[in-house]
Subunit: 436 residues, 2 copies
């Protein structure tokens, strides 16, 4: 079973590289552990995911304010949040082969790589450290943000002062975060550089239970909107014992990845821990004045957190499908048309017939104005179908002789069933749009 | 004159903070020099700019491939590109007050801050350095990318192998880059963390002159598309003496910023310098095989480079306008409707009339499905106009008593002229769409 699942991961990683979704970071230089470079279809998939999130969580709502804070922040941010003190993993090093491991992930009796003895365990802070300005000493140390959240708490007052929102309201941000993982693993699941989509939703503390439930529903709607299969989604309530000291409730969405059921998203009620900590560290008042009740208080916060890369992996791994068609094995990505990088591909049946090529270019130019399309006249038609199936294109349109000689429309092939139907050219835009 | 211009910059910076475009980075902690946090309208403006760029340079073209490479790359990338060796500024430090300056930007006889004597000049590498993995020694040094270009050259072969493009073709990427500037200045013009939109366009070397001209036109179309005023745009040809050793031609677009005519965009013909350097450093063949001529060669490259933050500043500083209306001074942003964060605001004439509020909510819900809108019922109507003018909203729609009592449509107010016209509600979507 484990064999089989690792096999599936290998197939996904291989398809991602072969078809231009995701490449190992800096690959020609032998790579750089825990970094990944997104190629054309990976970028398109990520952009679709991010655009849907931004629309659903920011522009379609009246109570949300977008942000884009710097990755390098004043280091006091991470003192206040507790990351400088506590964002660390236990590390052990083998005395013989000098390989390093997370102490909580290995049997500490002997090194699994060479059987050598481990040295003493030490705490290793996972923030990437750098120096800002021209001196390299303690006074110039900065960190790459380990999460986007800090950029929002630090700007809470700026939002109050510039857009004057009323509670409840949220701040939202999409951006890169960095963690110097001792053991990056599982493709883009645990990497050293990743992208987050986070909301900090500020509330009156008396409403926290009802607000938490609303956010659980919003989160589930998000999962379904991007086409994650419901039967692979599991909600896990954190036990009292595993809650952070500041959190009163956290529920994760776990997902059936090929390597097991693992955390995909988190939803945490963080009380007023963050605003109070930043107010204390900065000396700036981060309270809110309620015009109606004339009360002043520090809002509490609910944080729905989404990882872009884990979302990509959840989508790809549940979309990866192998079946047989016309006696041949095939591989395809059963992506929801909403998030598929290419919605529709257009082919001339034959490349060497100028009238077919001209007509199919015309159809292509019409469709591309409406959604992401590709034109392909390379190789035989079966090969072109295989290629589009592997990048998850839901529809392939072929211009054939009947199209131009009998004005008989085009064929539209469905990715999943392989079925072809003839359709007038004038109906194409409406048909594809109804699916996305 | 200089006074006046600095005054204009101060006004722009102040408006950006007051209205939620751009805040000083980590402001509650006293800031962090050279970093800026984008607020709700700044993010919306940036997203519009980036989306237009992506559409114009990637999805609307058949010959472009999007990428999103990691910010932390294998350090050999920056050895090959010459950044480890040569990406440095001359630095001097005052012996008395210890302030640091770029040696090429100050009179070296005496410190301008305290009159003290300068120590010896030294070279300062502007790449931010960090360590990856659990050890901090020379073997684990990595850099934050100083430009996005490296991520594309390093993936050139991956693109050849996965999407099999034919020359000429380009790779395109939007992402953060980092430079540890000694003297960050001029708001978001020269910051330590910024966002780039770069294309590496690979060509047959015999075509370089004609391709360069095509890209000059594409670049000018871009400037006009986002509404930069033509009379502030200057094309500057680099002199032979200032060309990098690998570049045969570079033209900048300079722009009339409030602090002078400065570089906005670059367009460089970089020959085969980059691919050859990465091939030599990595030992990987980065040549291209032309199926038609059966020739194998290393493509040359033309690089049009766009800074997102400088674009934001060029747009804001040319849009900032003060005039007088109805005997009152007002400030507004004359943004092109295409890039304005909010396209249309909807108001009920009075907040305390439920029928006005209900009708205006209805109009708002209809419009927001089509483009970015805001609903505002806060304060008197004049105050609401002022606010929308300051964030550059081109149209304000007001629902008044005639709307509901006489079915007389709504008033649409033009930001620049202040003129109001009545319009049937059914025509609103079409009207605004025709402007954006």
């Amino acid at each position: 079973m484990v064999e089989q699942k690792n096999d599936l991961m290998e197939k996904i990683v291989s398809l991602c590289k072969r078809r231009g979704f995701v490449f190992p970071g800096s690959e020609i230089y032998g790579g750089l552990a825990g970094t990944w470079d997104y190629g054309p279809y990976g970028v398109a998939l990520k952009k679709n995911i991010k655009d849907i999130w931004w629309k659903m969580f920011v522009t379609d709502r009246d109570d949300m304010y977008g942000m884009d804070a710097a990755i390098i922040m004043n280091p006091k941010t991470w003192v206040a949040s507790g990351h400088v003190e506590g964002f660390q993993d236990p590390l052990v090093e083998c005395k013989k082969c000098h390989h390093r491991f997370r102490a909580d992930q290995v049997d500490l009796s002997r090194c699994p790589d060479c059987g050598g003895e481990f040295g003493e365990m030490r705490q290793f802070n996972m923030m990437f450290k750098t120096h800002i300005g021209a001196t390299e000493d303690a006074s110039s140390v900065c960190y790459l943000r380990p999460e986007t959240a800090g950029g929002m708490f630090v700007n809470f007052k700026n939002i109050l002062d510039s857009v004057h929102p009323k509670l409840p309201f949220g701040m939202a941000q999409i951006g890169k975060a960095f963690r110097n993982e001792i053991a990056p693993r599982d493709f883009v699941f645990r990497s050293r550089e990743f992208e987050q989509m986070e909301v900090e939703y500020f509330i009156d503390p008396k409403d926290w239970e009802s607000q938490f439930e609303v956010w659980e529903k919003v989160r589930m709607n998000w999962c379904l909107e991007i086409g994650l299969p419901e039967n692979k989604i599991h909600i896990r309530e954190h036990e009292k014992s595993e809650l952070s000291h500041y959190s009163k409730r956290t529920t994760d969405i776990e997902f059936d990845f090929p390597f097991g059921q693992k955390e995909l998203y988190g939803l945490a009620y963080r009380t007023d821990f963050d605003l109070k900590a930043h107010a204390a560290e900065s000396g700036v008042d981060l309270s809110y004045f309620d015009e109606e009740t004339k009360e002043r208080f520090v809002p509490h916060v609910i944080e729905p957190s989404v990882g872009v890369d884990r979302t990509v992996l959840a989508i790809l791994s549940s979309a990866y499908t192998e079946d047989e068609m016309d006696g041949e094995k095939r591989t395809y990505l059963k992506l929801s048309p909403k998030i598929a990088p290419i919605k529709c591909a257009v082919f001339p049946l034959l490349k060497n017939k100028p009238e077919l090529v001209a007509k199919s270019r015309e159809v292509f130019e019409m469709l591309r104005k409406e959604f992401a399309c590709e034109f392909d006249d390379n190789g035989n038609i079966g090969k072109r179908y295989r290629r589009q199936e592997e990048i998850g294109t839901p529809f392939c349109v072929t211009v054939d002789f009947d199209t131009i000689e009998k004005d008989a429309g085009v064929t539209v092939r469905d990715r999943d069933s392989g079925q072809q139907t003839r359709m007038p050219i004038s109906e194409l835009v409406g048909f594809v749009k109804s699916k996305i």
